[in-house]
């Protein structure tokens, strides 16, 4: 065994000696995939709808029934008075209140049906989506109910839309979250642990012992990064299997391309961790340095919020964020079966980031060590 192999062996021994660490490294991806895969969803579900109907009739019943029957909405607590509706909204015990007028049928027959909706706007996005959907359901049902009436016969013609959703016909956000979560896991393992493991040796005084040995700085850097790269690929394998078997994600593209892209990305995260270690003398500092960059990388990566939806200035900023590109790549490979030609731009950007960051880390490391 050469010096490099010894270093790698030692790192593995240290990682596997701490049972808590082992559990964290191998259980974390599974738990996080499960939690994040299900929690991180912008799909609207279970919106509670209460009905305020002073004079209940067949029409209002049919309309509320139609709303409740959708997957988005469920019945909320019943409401008798407007002030009660207000109380429920304030306390957050219902999300939306349908307020039917006393003479709904007469009004509708005159083509003048009006229905009040009170909704909780605290969660702005949910409120907007819920409103649009409830309107659509009500309009459709009202049109159906009214279609038999005199003077309300459907008039023909007009442009109609036939939507066709590719890749993800049920439009679940899990499809797009799970590949991105895989990346998040790898980032945490590789960047944070690299930074900390180098600084830990500094703190404990063993780094000095290594530096008086004939190890070259390149051997040292590789010895520190190879074990974490291997762990990261282990994590990738676990997460990919879970994505396919548990979350039923189609892996349309090539596993080889996925691994290649992750390798490029690891150059960034491992290099970043090393860079953090060169500017830190305590693990606390290393964590905070990595953490600082991580928070903003995640936010500006399109992980939760589409890059296309950001203000222009922030969109430019995302070009400096390697996580943006790897997320674009894994989503493309997973869901659309994108190949190297389709992903040339993000792959190129990722490679540039990777080579840049890792070389910088190597250079800084050599300088600090010499």
């Amino acid at each position: 065994m050469g010096p490099l192999a010894r270093l790698v062996q030692k790192e593995f021994r240290q990682i596997f000696r701490d049972p808590l660490m082992v559990r964290l490294i191998f259980l974390m991806p599974i738990i996080q995939l499960f939690v994040l895969g299900h929690a991180v969803s912008l799909d609207l579900k279970g919106v509670r709808v209460s009905v305020l109907d002073p004079v209940p009739g067949p029409l209002s019943r049919r309309l509320s029934q139609a709303v409740w029957e959708t997957e988005t909405f469920t019945p909320g607590p019943p409401v008798a008075t407007p002030s009660q509706a207000e109380d429920l909204l304030v306390q957050g015990r219902t999300d939306l209140v349908l307020h039917f007028p006393v003479d709904l049928e007469r009004r509708m027959r005159q083509g003048n049906g009006v229905l009040g909706i009170n909704l909780d706007g605290r969660n702005s996005a949910q409120a907007g989506q819920a409103l649009a959907q409830v309107q659509a359901v009500l309009n459709l049902e009202a049109a159906r109910l009214a279609s038999g009436w005199k003077g309300q016969a459907p008039r023909p013609g007009g442009v109609t839309l036939q939507p066709l959703y590719l890749y993800n016909p049920e439009l679940v956000s899990r499809y797009q979250m799970v590949p991105a979560i895989t990346i998040l896991l790898i980032t945490i393992i590789s960047a944070m642990l690299t930074g900390m493991s180098v600084v830990r040796e500094k703190e404990l005084g063993t780094l000095e012992q290594l530096l008086v040995s004939p190890l070259t700085s390149r051997q040292l850097v590789l010895g520190k990064t190879i074990p974490l790269a291997i762990l990261s690929f282990g994590e990738l394998a676990v997460a990919t299997l879970a994505a396919i078997l548990v979350f039923r994600l189609p892996l349309e593209g090539s596993v080889l391309l996925l691994s290649g892209a992750v390798f490029l990305y690891l150059l960034v995260t491992l290099g970043g961790g090393l860079l953090a270690s060169t500017v830190s003398s305590t693990q606390q500092q290393a964590i905070f340095t990595v953490w600082f960059f991580l928070v903003f990388s995640i936010l500006l990566s399109g992980f939760f919020f589409p890059v296309a939806n950001m203000p222009q200035a922030l969109r430019w900023l995302t070009w400096m964020n390697p996580m943006r590109f790897i997320i674009e790549i894994v989503r493309g490979i997973y869901l659309k079966g994108s190949g190297p030609a389709d992903l040339a731009l993000p792959l190129g950007m990722l490679a540039a980031h990777g080579v840049g960051v890792f070389s910088l880390a190597l250079w800084r490391f050599r300088k600090r060590v010499a």
Binding site: M21, I31, V35, L36, H38, A39, S41, L42, G46, R48, G92, M108, G113, L115, I117, N118, D120, G121, R122, N123, A125, G128, Q129, L131, Q135, L138, R155, P156, G157, G158, V159, T160, L161, P163, Y165, L166, Y167, N168, R174, Y175, I188, L193, M196, S197, E203, Q283, Q284, I287, F288, F292, V295, L299, F304, F305, P306, A308, L314, R331, K336, D342
Partner: protein, 364 residues
């Protein structure tokens, strides 16, 4: 105890990075979250394949374009160009107007147009579909009066608490819940474990301080920083993002202190359970920060989660604090006895557990 607190303060002040994480990062997060997270999608890029190429189809494209939410970024000449466009992420949907569009309309028949949507991002895809639906309804109303169904029911919506449905009003107050966990739980646990790892804890313990005093002393600066961060976030929220304040500041401050205590107790408990900073960091991240970010209702609503996660969500202090913050600021209700009781109960339980574990750890 004061001496310990003063020492901890010096540690923080002397280390610009801890200071950055404790003070600069929350501020930057508020600004970024406030500006970057606009959950109302607009200017969604789509492509158009106009197989007809007549006046009618041009009008349709114009109307779609002028609806404000959709931007036509590309003209296609064949269906084969659609998928490559999706794979390159050049556009999110392609509107296909088949030949014979005008003739069908002229004959008073339905004229279907197809929209192919990149469904990879499910929620964005649904939104694109809904926007196009709206734009086409508008087009029908403007250009083809009398065609299609006239809705017999008009809806008059009234959105409470956040009438314009501004994302920042929803996000920014909630951010306090996340930032306080970060500052109090993450910073505290790491700083205590660090003393253990480098052996200074033993040194301090040989001095005549009680373990209890030592710990409380260490917590004080983080309590202060947590409070300061909260104040900064609320201030920025009010001034920069005009988040309304319909309730009482005093009540809000009280609830926030309660929450900070719970967050500190969590940090303490972690530090009592682990030996190394690496493990403390991982646990703080996985057990406190990510749940506060993802399972608390901060962005993602509980209602759309499966039951087990909803249950877990309700075991997280951030969930309860979030309800209070949004309730006080947006709904203007100051009394949240149930939520406050839950938080207090969590605080007592976690603190007790942490102190007990700590005593045991130090006696070992």
């Amino acid at each position: 105890m004061l001496a310990v607190a003063a020492k901890e303060f010096l540690h923080i002040l002397r280390d610009p990075r801890t200071l950055a994480v404790a003070l600069v990062m929350p501020l930057a997060m508020v600004l970024l979250y406030g500006y970057a997270i606009d959950m109302e999608l607009r200017a969604l890029p789509i492509a158009v394949l106009d197989e007809e190429g007549g006046v009618r189809s041009r009008q349709l494209v114009e109307d779609v374009q002028s609806s404000g939410f959709i931007q036509v970024v590309e003209r296609l000449s064949s269906r084969e160009q659609i998928e490559p466009g999706f794979r390159h992420n050049r556009f999110l949907a392609a509107l296909v107007i088949p030949a014979g569009h005008a003739r069908r309309l002229g004959q008073g028949r339905e004229a279907p147009v197809q929209v192919v949507v990149d469904g990879a991002d499910g929620s964005t895809a649904a939104t694109v579909g809904a926007y196009l639906e709206q734009a086409i309804a508008l087009h029908n109303g403007r250009r083809l009066p009398g065609a299609g169904l006239k809705p017999p029911l008009r809806v008059e919506p009234r959105t409470w608490f956040n009438p314009q449905r501004v994302s920042a009003h929803f996000i920014v107050p909630g951010l306090t819940a996340v930032v306080m966990i970060m500052v109090c739980a993450l910073l505290t646990s790491i700083s205590i474990v660090r003393e253990r790892e480098t052996g200074t804890l033993e040194q301090v313990l040989t001095a005549p301080v009680q373990a209890r005093e030592l710990i409380l002393g260490k917590l004080q600066p983080y309590l202060l920083i947590g409070a300061l961060d909260t104040a900064v976030i609320f201030f920025v929220g009010r001034v920069v993002f005009q988040v309304p304040m319909n309730g009482s500041w005093l009540a809000l401050a009280g609830y926030s202190l309660l929450y900070i205590w719970v967050a500190l107790a969590m940090g303490l408990l972690i530090s009592a359970l682990v030996r190394t900073q690496q493990v403390a960091m991982m646990i703080a991240l996985v057990v406190t920060l990510l749940p506060a970010l993802l399972l608390s209702g901060f962005i993602f609503s509980h209602a759309s989660m499966p039951l087990p996660l909803q249950v877990v969500g309700h075991l997280i202090p951030a969930t309860w604090y979030l309800r209070i913050v949004r309730g006080v600021m947006l709904a203007g209700v100051n009394a949240w006895p149930r939520e406050a009781l839950v938080l207090a109960g969590m605080g007592v339980a976690i603190t007790g557990l942490a102190l007990k574990r700590f005593q045991k750890r130090l006696d070992d």
